[in-house]
Amino acid sequence: MSTRELTFAQAIREALDEELARDERVVLFGEDVGAWGGVFRTTEGLYEKYGPERVIDTPLSEEGYVGLAVGIAMTGMHPVPEIMFGDFITLAMDQIVNQAAKMRYMTGGQVAVPITIRATMGGGRSSGAQHSQSWHAWFAHVPGLKVAVPATPYDAKGLLKSALRDPNPVLFFEDKVMYHKIKGPVPEEEYLIPFGVADIKRQGGDVTIVALSRMVHTALAAAEKLAQEGISAEVIDPRTLTPLDEETLIQSVCKTGGAVIVDEGYTRFGVTAELAAVIAKGAFDYLDAPIERVAAFDVPIPFSPPLEFATIPDEERIIQAVHRVLEGRRPQ
């Protein structure tokens, strides 16, 4: 297999390009996704290639165009609305939570709602409290939705292509900080990555670090530093929250005896809490220390860089959490 290096944004764009070419039912919607190519350049050139009928500039009406997309999905197409800043998804909540997620169930299985909602997440750009949030946990709480949180260009492309072939509503979260900063190998050949399969991003034996989206890279950097201290950390990326590959998480913790869970969303009632519950139940007899959670502080994301960087998990907080796990380890 021949590979080349793509940025995260290029991988997303390539997945959209290939699926637009493969399936004429796929239509993209969003604010400036068309002629402008997307504010994060993830749809660059697609308007020129597929035309204004398939790559559609919408008014600034998140509820309206997500709602429209729900109806399009119910009538046999596969719309892909984009939420430019994930924070704006609040405007479309009814259409996602009360309409898209429930239509199949409420109709006793009469309809499918194949809609892929792409939304950004992630802070660290001094964009303030309304352009920096990570709301993926909300959607993992809602039955009927699937949630993907890819960390690498390879995963992003393979998962997005799977989402575009999934008959269910999928929330696809892309950390905007990764778009142009994260590069990685992507095969030339077509491939898909199934939902619900975690990926072991780094093998290790002393502690398990579970991380998702951009936090995978922060966790890998922390693991590298820990290795210099002689601590071998395993880094696991669930890649999708719904469905969740519980088995891979549990098996890793059974092996290492300790777990640190890292997420850029909020701490309280967040992804880290759910994953900790899964691990606590599945690996209870193997845990040598309390599970540690490293997530955003429970504050609106601040503007000023020192405050913002303190809020979002970094390598240092992960390393400290690993140390607490290892120190808390009961004597064998």
């Binding site: 309206g64 709602g67 429209l68 109806g71 119910m74 719309p79 009469q110």
Partner: protein, 326 residues
């Protein structure tokens, strides 16, 4: 026969309209009865009094056209061809219901008939209707989408957001506002600035038409004109039908605290079914005996549906986890 006002529609069509309106009326009365006897769980939102609007509009549609409905949706479902047996079973939460008991009285759907679901969120179906219109335009086969909603939904943002896109993109979408005068327990004029949705629709750049929503012929003619224009690619339109619900907001509300007896008596004089019966008899389409026979036949069918639904089983518990994902 009265030849001063020649009947503007085909007699067979008027008979079918009458039958569907009567089916709605008797269905709603049966649900009221079923609710009071404790044979159904939850709430019941009835539309008796409003029958001419859904029937007049849906008779202007083709089978492949789609509709979205509201929490007060039984009339829309019947008007678009929904069958009372699986409807009544759904109301009672039975497995033989349209949605296997998972939707309930507020969420009846038959996608095979183009009924894309009733909706418990006021205005919540407007996006679905606009999306169906988008797909219809792309298919290029002249299919049309109708969104039914009430006077409460005209102040939801989704109406303006979808109307804007529908006008911009010339979607074959007909907004049908059934103004039954009361948004829950408050008169619509206390809640809605200006002169109502037809004016607002015109400001958005689409036709805004108002009709007597209790006049089956007027509703049908207005709907037909707008639907055919949308079919031909002229884009969306709004039809406001003025009507009344005889009952309260739901069965637990008698609807008497916020409406006067006189007001309701005036509305009763404009009853859509009585007007239709007069039209049928005066034009010699049905005799009084045939009217009576039709009433008996439809009433009997609905009573049978009630009895059958009562006997039908609830869904097996295993189904609780089914249909979450496709």
């Amino acid at each position: 026969m009265n030849n001063r006002n020649p009947l503007p529609i085909e007699p067979d069509l008027l008979i079918e309209m009458y039958r569907r309106m009567l089916t709605i009326r008797f269905f709603e009365e049966a649900v009221f009865d079923v609710y009071r006897k404790g044979w159904m769980p939850g709430l019941a939102h009835l539309s008796d009094g409003q029958e001419a609007t859904p029937v007049g509009v849906c008779m202007a549609l083709r089978p492949e056209d789609t509709i979205t409905s509201t929490h007060r949706g039984h009339g829309h479902i019947i008007a678009k061809g929904g069958q009372v047996e699986p409807m009544m079973a759904e109301v009672m939460g039975k497995v033989s219901g349209y949605c296997r008991g998972k939707g309930g009285e507020m969420h009846i759907a038959d996608v095979s008939l183009g009924i894309l679901g009733a909706n418990g969120i006021v205005g919540g179906g407007l996006g679905i209707a606009a999306g169906s219109a988008f797909t219809a335009k792309r298919e290029g086969k002249g299919r049309v989408s109708v969104a039914f909603f009430g006077d409460g939904a005209v102040n939801q943002g989704l109406w303006y957001e979808t109307a804007n896109m529908a006008v911009l993109w010339k979607l074959p979408l007909i907004y049908v506002c059934e103004n039954n005068q009361y948004t829950e327990f408050t008169h619509w004029k206390k809640l809605t600035a200006g002169e109502g949705l037809a004016t607002r629709a015109r400001a958005m750049g689409m036709p805004g038409v108002e009709v007597d929503g209790n006049d089956i012929v007027a509703v049908y003619q207005a709907a037909r004109e707008l639907v055919e224009a949308a079919r031909c690619g002229e884009g969306p339109a709004t039809l406001v039908c003025h009507t009344i619900r005889y009952g309260g907001h739901h069965v637990g509300d008698p609807g008497t605290a916020y409406r006067t007896k006189e007001e309701m008596e005036e509305w009763r004089k404009k009853d859509p079914i009585q007007r239709c019966e007069r039209l049928l008899v005066e034009n010699g389409i049905l005799s009084p005996q045939e009217i009576e026979a039709t009433r008996t036949e439809i009433d009997q069918r609905i009573q049978n549906a009630v009895q059958q639904a009562r006997q039908d089983p609830f869904p097996p518990i295993e189904e609780v986890h089914e249909h979450v994902y496709a």
